[in-house]
Amino acid sequence: MIYECLNEKIYTEKLENGLQVVIIPKKGGIKKYAAYATHFGSINYKFKTDNENEAITVPDGVAHFLEHKLFEQEDGVNALDKLTKMGANPNAYTSFNHTSYLFECTEDFEDVLKALIHFVQNPYLTEENVEKEKGIIGQEIQMYDDDPHWQLFFGLLNSLYGGHAITKDIAGTIESIAEITPETLYACYNTFYDPSNMILCVCGDVDVNETMEIIKAETKAQKVFSEIDRFYGDEDENIKTKKTEKKMDVSIPMFMIGFKDLSNAAKLKAGMPEEINETIKYDVSMQILLELITGESTKLFEDLYNEGLITKGLAGEFSSEEDYAFSAISGETKNVDEVVGRINSRINEMKTNGLDKEEFERTKKMLYGRFVRGFEDVSTIANMFVNDFFRGVNASKYTDVYKTIDLEYVENVLRNHFDFEKQALSVIMP
């Protein structure tokens, strides 16, 4: 399939081995980027394939641990070093629901791409190298322990969710990673690193046909599972607790409020109208609403700033995946109760009075422009496609939605999402 978006062509193909390929041959740039990602992240702690009778449970942090270990290769040359030597800038990350191996380079793209595919397909895990990694990851976990923004975010997740695996720290804990063995890692690898569970996305000034040929030749079909059953823990639509608070060495209180929404799957199950289930439309609506609640063009922001209650912008974000969805509004203030109260009044007022037509149109235009701007950097583009793929979204559709979405639809989302019964607050205090 070929899509078009802002003068760029987007080529997509599902290979015979099940791998989804997306190539965006962005002309004129020097940087070339590729991401090879699997639908396996920190929330996948329990799963079952057709080959097994029972679901298996793995220690927290295993997806992230595997991400670190895949760079280790049998010939003793670390893949990170190998790609770096080739002039590329390789990296990897693990999110809640996927793990991505990526590189950026300016030359020898094809060779580096082959090297990327090769190392992701050839794990080499031994007792010794798994043990050694526990030290490095332990350091990483401690680094996040001292990061107030990370702690704030997880405070919110732990208020919104009770039993869902999203509350587990992505890297796990010092205790949980101690239990990881090569066997655990191979079990996960063999389940989730099958091409049918993966995407390869390339962005940059490359030859589409040649790139496609390389990918076809280099990616191998492994055992093909019909389906992986994923278990994320018991979770209902209610929040766990209204408020979480933590003390840290910071200069000013930080807060994050969030609303728990039904996941995309749960919305379907609850029999919500098809239209409200269009992920892109719902997401764009949430972007518009969050901007209308706290953006710098609002009266609320102006008032809070002029009264000295906030000293920088409030951030609004919405995450929606197959198995969870929530919004988060965060900021720093001397008076958390006052600011949270004012944000809630603003939401109430919008729910009661509806949206202002002029503000709505302006915000749409603004978000469209921001999207165009984001379509500059090869890594931003490719990561967007990867992210969206795992939630069943084709990212080339955004521009149309920005142009066409109507006020009535967004007002429906407003009344559906911002339910105060589903609101929680996380605070970091000095």
Binding site: G29, I30, N89, E107, D146, M248, I252, G308, V372
Partner: protein, 426 residues
């Protein structure tokens, strides 16, 4: 793309980066003034006040609405420390006219707005608006205090402060809380007038632009702005090497509620700030600790598992090298020893020809990548200008190629540990 510099007069430079490969146009302005303890806080406060409003768009809300209407254009004003200069910098960026839905001329609007932000700020009774100044003083107070929030950058700042002592480079770019008391709308406006008269001004325009139009725009604007004698005065220097006055290693321990220790070592490097030294030191720094093939990354993180993050940074404007590491609290001694061994190995020439080759490939890729990023292009250019380095990216890459093993060993032997700063638990 070649950068073209149009010198309007001794103090006004227009840097044109003409290219049609980007989806937005970036306009940046740098007002360069000497970094000085007397003015650092005021200069940090000025951009914050400029951000509040112009004569036409009097509030932040007005500006923000205007930016929304310009398809989510971005505008920001801030301060930065570049060598011995403190820059008041303004950035604006808007999508290319060709992506607008109704054919608006966003480039012209952005230029006009930028000029207004600098020359026509919102005033009351002929000086800055008191409410804005007082509000921004509190915001700046918070910003100064918030430096402890990110432990890594806090440790880096503290080590810089300890290393430079009385030298202006020790100053925090946002200034001191104690200075805020004395600042009024009136004396702040006076300081801004001084800057407008004395500061060297650099305008960057990067994107799909026409040279003639840009030139005409600035010539028209500056026709109406009187030039004073001070404006033809060349700066004495833009940056220079500092005397650090540290004879024995300065050991600094600081305690905070942390689970991971942050170690920062500062090395004085006995080199001048010439282009040649920069090329040699960049190669040295890459091999020691700037890439994932570096000695620090390989030996301290990968082989010994002593740190998750460890790297080295060469401060090209001051000729000082920093080594940083985030380490487990009980592994301080071991990590320190291993880091020192890496630095020593560099001095002894204990690195392979392959390491040199890898570093050159790394730098080539790194610098070529900058060509795809407008903001970084601008930052690199102004940084080089202050350093006095006149070279295109391709020329810089060619110069890295020419650096030899002897060059690297030579600069390695000019490094001397001056500060050992460690942020640890209470």
């Amino acid at each position: 793309m070649k950068e073209q510099v149009i010198k309007l007069n001794e103090k006004i430079f227009i840097h044109l980066m003409k290219t049609d490969k980007f989806k937005s146009n970036v306009i940046a302005a740098f007002l360069l003034t000497d970094l000085d303890s007397e003015t650092v806080t005021k200069n940090a406060l000025i951009p914050a006040v400029l951000r509040r409003g112009t004569a036409k768009l009097q509030t932040m809300k007005d500006i923000s609405i205007k930016m929304d209407e310009m398809y989510g254009a971005l505008f920001d004003a801030s301060t930065d420390k570049i060598g011995d200069k403190q820059a008041i910098q303004l950035y604006a960026s808007a999508i290319n006219n060709k992506f607008t839905l109704n054919g608006e001329d966003l480039l012209a609007e952005t230029l006009e707005f930028m000029f207004d932000a600098i020359y026509n700020p919102y005033l009351e009774n002929g000086i800055f608006c008191e409410e804005y100044v007082n509000g921004e003083k509190e915001t700046l107070r918070e910003l100064i205090n918030s430096k402890i929030n990110n432990k890594g950058s806090y440790a880096m700042f503290r080590c810089t402060e300890e290393t430079f002592g009385d030298d202006p480079y020790a100053l925090f770019k946002y200034g001191n809380e104690a200075d805020l008391e004395e600042i009024t709308a009136s004396n702040l406006y006076d300081q801004y007038q001084t800057i407008l008269h004395k500061a060297e001004k650099h305008f960057y325009i990067c994107g799909d632009v026409e040279e003639e139009k840009i030139k005409e725009f600035f010539e028209n604007k500056y026709e109406k702005i009187p030039t004073t004698l001070e404006m033809i005065h060349e700066p004495e220097y833009r940056t220079k090497k500092s005397e650090l006055n540290i004879t024995e290693v300065k050991e600094v321990r600081e305690k905070m509620d942390v689970t991971q220790g942050k170690l920062v070592l500062a090395y004085d490097v006995d080199v001048d700030l010439s282009a040649e030294s920069f090329y040699k030191m960049t190669l040295y720094n890459t091999i020691l600790g700037a890439s994932s093939n570096s000695k620090l990354f390989q030996n301290v993180r990968e082989k010994a598992s002593l740190a998750y993050t460890t790297r080295s940074t060469y401060l090209k404007h001051k000729g000082v090298l920093f080594v940083t590491a985030g380490i487990e609290l009980d592994k301080y001694e071991k990590a320190l020893e291993l880091i020192k061994i890496q630095v020593d190995d560099m001095r002894k020439g204990n690195f392979s020809d392959e390491d040199i080759k890898d570093a050159k490939v790394f730098l080539k890729n790194l610098f070529n990548s900058i060509k795809d990023d407008q903001i970084t292009l601008v930052e690199l250019s102004i940084g080089n200008f202050i350093l006095g380095l006149d070279a295109s990216i391709d020329e810089m890459i060619a110069s890295f190629e020419k650096v030899t093993r002897e060059d690297i060993v030579e600069v390695a032997n000019k490094t001397r540990l001056v500060t050992n700063y460690y942020l640890c638990a209470e």
